[in-house]
Amino acid sequence: MLQCQSISVAIGSRYLLKDVGFCARAGEFTIIVGPNGAGKSTLLKVLSGEIRPVEGHVSLNGEPISRMRPAQLAKCRAVLPQSVTLAFSLTVDEVVRLGVEAAGVKGSAQESLCEAVLDEVGLGGWGTRLYQNLSGGEQQRVQFARVLAQVPRPVANDLPRFLLLDEPTSSLDIRHQIDLLERARRHAREGGGVIAIVHDLNLAAEFADRIAVMSKGQIAAFGPPSETLDDTTISKVFGISGIVGTLPPATMPFILPQSRHAALP
């Protein structure tokens, strides 16, 4: 369980997060949605330990992360950033290996783990290419492979491990978006925990076990998709009106966005 209580983060007098409580359970795929500037990435950074909140605390499997060493933390959770710019040109393998080493895998098992995670993101045999020569989507998949390599098993020592994914689908085509989210969901199904920021509300509805809708540094709604992605929340949080319907299996909502002008009476 990765949870935080009464978190506040501020720059000067402006609050990015104000008194936020959040919790991601093992075995569940939790997706955070919300408009730009709602504080989604900030929340993820707090959960990953990258940002220390001015108030509140974060705990991972019952232990406050502020008391965990980075190496210890790295064995319990892996983080996929929005985008990564390399300072020097590493190969795909060298990038993935940083995850492999964080997992504490040694010797020849490193090679096979590298190959395995690259296979999983559909980049088998790409290990020798230079990262900087890949397309944006391919780079994102390499980073996802690195994240998978860092926590190769969803559960270790009876404790769940977490994936924290910041807009993992932003540069991907629709097929790879689905592949990636499916792979992440598998991690959750096998006992781990996943938290992802996703902009596509329909994908969120499809894959999430629970959805946190964020707005203005706070959580506006938190629960299963059918309870959180409704007309009122969508129009209040995003300031649009859309057609919200349900698809079989019965309760899954879908959102069909409309031009804001067309929506006017």
Binding site: E50, A71, L73, A74, F88, T91, E94, G127, T128, R146
Partner: protein, 364 residues
């Protein structure tokens, strides 16, 4: 034995690069650079303005006491060998410091001499020369031969920390800020040196001139040995920082995510660079460009992974400096060229090429 030129050219290498190859290339390059250093050392010992027969040299080095005449023995044991050790230590210090600074600042242009670290060390060294006879004489007496390296180390440490503080904001180090801060620090350094020089007496003035020119002349066993602990600190840090610097290629937050204690890494790296750079400046003056040329050329051959790059930089830096020094000793014999001329002639074009290639990336 193959030499470095028989390795794949960068462009060809990039096309058929394999990660396995890269690691093997890394190991191979470390080995080759060590062999190159060995070869340069032999060359440096064997050549000089006074020719000494190779066979006699070898026999003397193997412990035969009457292999050389008294004059030749002094040239070998009191001039060439301490100078070789001093050159090797200084070259290692400069090569590895360059690689570490570039890793830390995530930029291939960061170099101790360009961003003002050497300048900070030089200010401290000059102050030590002038104040060592007066207000600081107690320290000077206690520290003996280490007084100057210690002072230079403090100067380098202060400058590196200041630079990091100035150029880094929210985990991102701005190259433009870094270079400008380096210019400012160097300017302040020169001003301080000017101020100190104005109050210096004739004798001190000559010692200061020696520092600002940079030279391996005047190497003695005592001076070379005084450097050993400082360079030792840096070399001891290499295995502990190499994975962290690799992770830092992704970014500071990402390094933290894969388990690196970034603050500790920064402190260790700054300490290592300041220690070695300070000592190098203290004994050999400001010698530029080694720290930028060596890592850059090595990265072209072996990639940027610090695990192999750092050791290879140590060997390569030492080989380049000793090689340049050998040229300085021979070309205008019996006089000597200042070594800064040779390193700048080799280094400046590489720096300019690097700047041109990256001009767009930096928006400069």
């Amino acid at each position: 034995m193959t030499d470095a030129t028989s390795l794949p050219r960068p462009s060809a290498f990039r096309r058929r690069a394999k990660s396995g190859d890269r690691r093997r290339t890394g190991q191979l390059t470390v080995g080759l650079s060590a062999l190159l250093l060995l070869a340069v050392c032999v060359l440096a010992v064997a050549t000089g303005p006074s020719p000494i027969p190779l066979g006699d040299l070898a026999r003397s080095l193997l412990g035969e006491s009457d292999a050389l005449s008294a004059r030749e023995a002094i040239i070998l044991h009191d001039i060439r060998l301490p100078r070789l050790l001093l050159g090797a230590l200084t070259g290692m210090a400069l090569g590895v410091s360059g690689t570490m600074m570039q890793g830390l600042f995530r930029n291939p242009l960061a170099d101790p001499s360009l961003v003002g670290v050497s300048s900070g060390a030089a200010v401290a060294a000059v102050c030590a020369i002038v104040l060592g006879g007066g207000p600081l004489s107690a320290f000077a007496a206690v520290l003996g031969n280490s007084f100057l390296p210690v002072a230079a180390f403090m100067g380098a440490l202060a400058t590196t920390s200041l630079l990091y503080f100035l150029a880094t904001k929210a985990g991102r180090t701005s190259i433009a800020t870094l270079l400008l801060a380096g210019l400012a620090v160097t300017a302040i350094g020169n001003a301080l040196i000017g101020l100190v020089v104005f109050t210096a007496d004739d004798q001190q003035l000559r010692d200061i001139t020696f520092w600002t020119l940079g030279s391996l002349g005047g190497a003695t066993w005592g001076r070379a040995m005084a450097m050993v602990p400082f360079v030792g600190i840096m070399l001891a840090a290499v295995p502990f920082v190499s994975r962290g610097l690799d992770a830092l290629i992704l970014g500071e937050a990402e390094a933290m995510h894969v388990g690196i204690n970034v603050e500790t890494l920064k402190r260790a790296t700054i300490l290592a660079v300041a220690s070695a750079c300070g000592a190098a400046v203290a004994v050999a003056g400001v010698i530029g460009f080694i720290g930028i040329v060596v890592p850059h050329l090595l990265r072209l051959v072996m990639g940027p992974s610090n695990r192999y790059l750092l050791p290879a930089s140590a060997f390569g830096g030492a080989a380049l400096l000793i090689g340049a020094d050998t040229i300085c000793r021979i070309v205008v014999a019996p006089a000597e060229l200042p070594i800064g001329i040779i390193t700048a002639l080799i280094g400046a074009p590489v720096f300019m090429a690097l700047l041109l290639r990256r001009r767009n990336a930096f928006g400069l």
